[in-house]
Symmetry: C2
């Protein structure tokens, strides 16, 4: 094995470092984004020659009105449109006091701890049990936190929390007056049931057009809160830190929302087929993993994960991510945002790489 | 006068609160953005159906290569494309340590103190003398700072620092190893001379397509640094806080750069005419103000500024901004991003309002 190449790949510190490493026969199980195209509606009626002066910091009224129809009892005033879900999360935590604690189920999306720490807050962890929140541990640790950040369906576990768990979290946090930040960017990618919008006056929901409408690079997300003070405080910060979210992107998001419901259900079918294919494939290879119920990630256990990652990349041109980036050492993360044919080819290469590294 | 309306207008805390208050006979000297259209080139060749998956965090290569041709000795690696100059500034200060000081010439752009404070840093001020940096005071105060943030041409003063002053700042800060953050978003709107790019390995330049190409709402800005570690650190943060800058906006920015030089010189002519008109008009009304040499703002002295602002808005439908938002109490800020005919009408209303409030 080429040692300098191995060093290079292990020097990469986060998934973002892999952007642009596809092509040339590489099979990437890395990228956390749909490979499918946006709906045709996203492009229809977009007028680039619209008024391109500053827009409202809170976001375009029509887009927020359209979102309000998806959130029962809401108005346009409950939303702030942001540069993707990332900026929504960043602004939410920056609005709280430095030194306060945020509870984080582990494994977590790799940006969560840095976002919390950049805001000067302190992440504390509750370890998932069989990929799900352990309410006993949750109850113990939530008490001295300002907020909890949950993500269902979850990147990187693919797990969806039971509705009873989500309702229990609503109740516990409501009673204690602790905020729930609910990152629901995969809400339209659940295979088992409809999404359950966690709700209440202490809930801040984060969402995005990226995954539902396959437009990650357009960077349009949003947050919802029933607390007008939260909305005002976030708009005040955003006035200084980025101003309005890009207007053409907001127009495209609004247009995309006109896509028929079948666009989403057809996507779900495709994702379910891929999920079934990769899950069976990895089980057949002997991996121990949770069956995804949403999103498009699997997180199998994997001994010698760093070495396996290097061998896969350098000798077999297969990109996977280290579980440790997501707080899950001894696991690797695979995204199945790939054609079945590519998943098949990738699984074949993984089978070969398993001859070189002990992973089970 | 309607007291509740007066209360309303004085409750507004920052210029951003005025967005959307135009129309219906209102003359707005408020908005800090061009009223002119973007160049036709900005719309040419834009393909919305491009690859809309995540782009590079640092920004599109072609756009950065195009910028590099404007910065002698630079490569694409020296730039990070951001959601406007605002995000560039925000990320720069977040990259430094909490509690460190940042020197800020006063009057300042209204977002500077909040951006510095949000990053946990501490603004310290050097008061301008006749609208220009006082190098003696600058030298005294810079010593225990991590950085200085300068803005030439300046919003809100309209002043352009002399090239000798900028070179002196280069020298002083280089010697002390202190960073200069140079916000040059009005670089193409100087009436007196070419822009002087302040330079050096401790300089971080912030810039934008917003003012030069009249596309504020598209939110594409950038930063330049010769220090690869600064660039890497900022990309690392942006990976978590917003990911890539919106791709369609970056395409529009690249296309806009193809506009002929005459687009910019023609704009400068228009701004110069307006500057001459409003400057003479305000002097004739008896106001004491600096003559703008760049950007599109005047900052006349004004007694009873809060009352005058209310009377102007409520009784005469004229929007102006309080100097105190920019660290300049007893002044008001007027933007002249308006047709001459509107400036004329606005000045007439100001003359009438001066009958009601003592401002000189």
């Amino acid at each position: 094995m080429n040692h300098s190449k191995m060093t290079e790949i292990l020097r990469l510190k986060s998934p973002a470092d892999f952007i642009g490493r596809q092509g040339n026969g590489v099979i990437s199980f890395g990228s956390g984004q749909p490979d499918l195209p946006p709906p045709q509606e996203a492009f229809q009626g977009i007028d680039l020659k619209r008024d391109l002066r500053y827009g409202l910091i809170q976001g375009e009224v029509k887009l927020r009105e359209s979102l309000a129809r998806e959130y029962p009892g809401s108005t346009a005033g409950n939303f702030v449109i942001t540069n993707g879900a990332s900026e929504a999360l960043d602004l939410i935590f920056r609005g709280w006091s430095k030194g306060e604690k945020v509870l984080l189920p582990r494994p977590y999306y790799y940006s969560y701890p840095p976002i919390i720490e950049l805001a000067g807050m302190v992440p504390v962890y509750t370890d998932l049990v069989d990929g799900r929140i352990d309410l006993d541990d949750f109850k113990k640790k939530i008490k001295d936190c300002r907020a909890v950040l949950i993500n269902s369906p979850s990147n990187p576990t693919g797990r969806v929390e039971a509705i009873e768990t989500l309702k229990e979290i609503e109740k516990i946090t409501q009673k204690l007056g602790i905020y729930v930040v609910s990152d629901e960017v995969y809400k339209d990618l659940i295979y088992e049931r409809e999404n359950y919008h966690i709700n209440g006056d202490h809930v801040i929901t984060v969402n995005s057009f990226s995954k539902t409408y396959c437009m990650c690079g357009v960077r349009v997300g949003y947050l919802w809160s029933s607390d007008k003070k939260v909305v005002e405080n976030i708009c005040e910060m955003k006035t200084h830190t980025s101003m309005n979210t890009n207007l053409v992107g907001q127009d495209m998001a609004l247009s995309a929302m006109r896509a028929p419901k079948e666009y989403i259900t057809k996507q779900q079918q495709i994702w379910r087929q891929r999920r079934d294919y990769i899950y069976k494939g990895l089980v057949d290879l002997g991996f121990d993993l949770w069956k995804p119920e949403g999103a498009f990630y699997v997180l199998p256990k994997c001994k010698n994960a760093r070495e396996f990652l290097s061998v896969l990349y350098n000798d077999f041109k297969v990109i996977t991510y280290l579980g440790e980036w997501f707080g899950a050492p001894d696991r690797i993360r695979l995204s199945y945002a790939l054609d079945i044919s590519q998943i098949e080819e990738g699984l074949g290469r993984i089978r070969q790489a398993m001859q070189k590294v002990t992973v089970l």
